[in-house]
């Protein structure tokens, strides 16, 4: 293992992308995420958030610019390595959990990486333990509650020991308790996290730093607290805090 700061978990440089029908979605995105950081990627619907995420593990390949994960550039010949390092958690856990049991599902990634037998079992149990779902190991995913399914979805990528965990709208459709439980789990993980969301309080709760993606470029990059306090900046990018919500004063000096 390298020391925490000599390689960045994620570097995106001048990334541009147009869909095959000609619609340009990204117009030169630059961002860097250091090891161990938890960063929120904020933006209104249609800002290109999902398009950007699809580039991070090479499902879409850059029209222009580069993406580098833990020092490895995303290219055709590095796809296998990159997909191991970028853990993508999709918005709908029913898309993510496609195997008949929780155990098989969490084992899918590590087994594709070549783990077998005892080693595979250890990876599966370790990942489920980290999200507090070890007791559900032999249950079929459709017997779990929505919040439990989302936690198992996080475990499916944790089992691959990713360099960076990328979560697409992690708080969507969760009830308040499930939302808090997921936050506690995410905070307890010692991996780099990129959280794509327009749930601003959740970003404030979990991420020190935020990026605003708007119109296919990074429009702002800074401490979450400062960005959310800037009402004009938020309004310019179709973002706003929920009714009755004000950025609370910092609990401890930064």
């Amino acid at each position: 293992m390298n020391s925490p700061n000599d390689v960045n978990s994620l570097e995106v440089s001048r990334l541009a992308y147009a869909y095959p029908d000609g619609t340009q979605a990204l117009f030169g995105v630059d961002l860097t995420i250091g090891r161990g950081e938890r960063v929120a990627l904020l933006g209104p619907n249609g800002a290109g958030k999902t398009t950007l995420v699809m580039h991070l593990n090479g499902i879409l390949t850059a029209g222009h610019g580069t993406v580098t994960v833990g020092g490895t550039p995303v290219r055709k010949d590095t796809l296998k390595e990159v997909r191991r390092r970028v853990g993508l958690v999709f918005q709908d856990p029913d898309d993510q959990l496609f195997m008949p049991t929780v155990r098989d599902d969490v084992a899918f990634g590590p087994a594709n990486m070549g783990l077998t037998g005892e080693e595979l079992e250890r990876a599966v149990k370790g990942a489920l333990d980290r999200v507090g779902m070890l007791e559900a190991i032999d249950r079929p995913p459709h017997h779990l509650s929505f919040g439990q399914r989302r936690r198992v979805a996080v475990a499916t990528v944790l089992a691959m020991e990713p360099e960076i965990l990328v979560l697409d709208e992690p708080s969507s459709n969760l009830d308040p308790a499930a939302r808090r439980e997921l936050a506690e789990i995410l905070r307890s993980l010692d991996v780099t996290v990129l959280m794509v969301t327009h749930d601003l309080p959740y970003a404030l709760e979990l991420c020190e730093r935020s990026l605003i993606l708007s119109g296919g470029v990074i429009a702002a990059d800074g401490p979450t607290r400062e960005l959310l306090a800037d009402t004009e900046l938020l309004a310019a990018h179709r973002l706003e805090l929920p009714y009755g919500f004000a950025v609370p004063a910092p609990a401890e000096p930064a």
Partner: protein, 251 residues
Amino acid sequence: MGAGHHHQLYLPGASAVHRLPPQCKLLAVFAFAVVVVATPRERFWAFGLYALLLAAVAWAARVPPGHVLRRMAIELPFVLFAFLIPVIGLGERTTVLGLSLSVPGLWAAWNILAKATLGVVASILLAATTEPRVILLGAQRLRVPSLLVQIAMFMLRYLDVILDEMRRMRVARESRGFEARDVRQLPAVARSAGALFIRSYERGERVHLAMLSRGYSGRMPMLGEVSASAAQWGVALLLPVSALAVLGLSL
């Protein structure tokens, strides 16, 4: 949630039949079906013995007769078809209860009924003693083409998701005053079916992306090794071998 219809076929238990590895049971049922189909239809007593063999398996697996009988409903369309054959059949005719029936038709109906029933009962016993996903593991072990196993696996996983989606669409239709009463309402139902197809197709694409993201390269990793000992094969093959002995005697 689409609760309530899970494992309708599977009957949890710990009998010797339950504990056999799935690939042994799959092959045993398949071989049994082949022997049954190969038996000449005139040998009534052979079919009786086959039925007794299945009864013995059911007894060993502690599957109650009611469980098997209720699930035999799936055979009904074939039964109806079988009853039609003697009525519309050609050739020599005979009169049963004032009904003129074709003799070759009667033989054909008996042939279909007897063989299909034995096959269906054997399959029900397999499903009652083996979880669906374990059956698929067995199929994988038996080198059934991996694409077929994968398709069956996804069907198993997403059946409830899709049924649930279908239920939500029905609720949405009915909430807006729709009632499916006669043929004129059919277009609305057809459009729902189309929408459901598109949604499922799109879900398929998203699932594929999720699989790619975790290193899928066209082959499912072999999960859950289920190896079978010679003794287990011996026990499982008792069924088709006994059936084969009966067939040998009847020829």
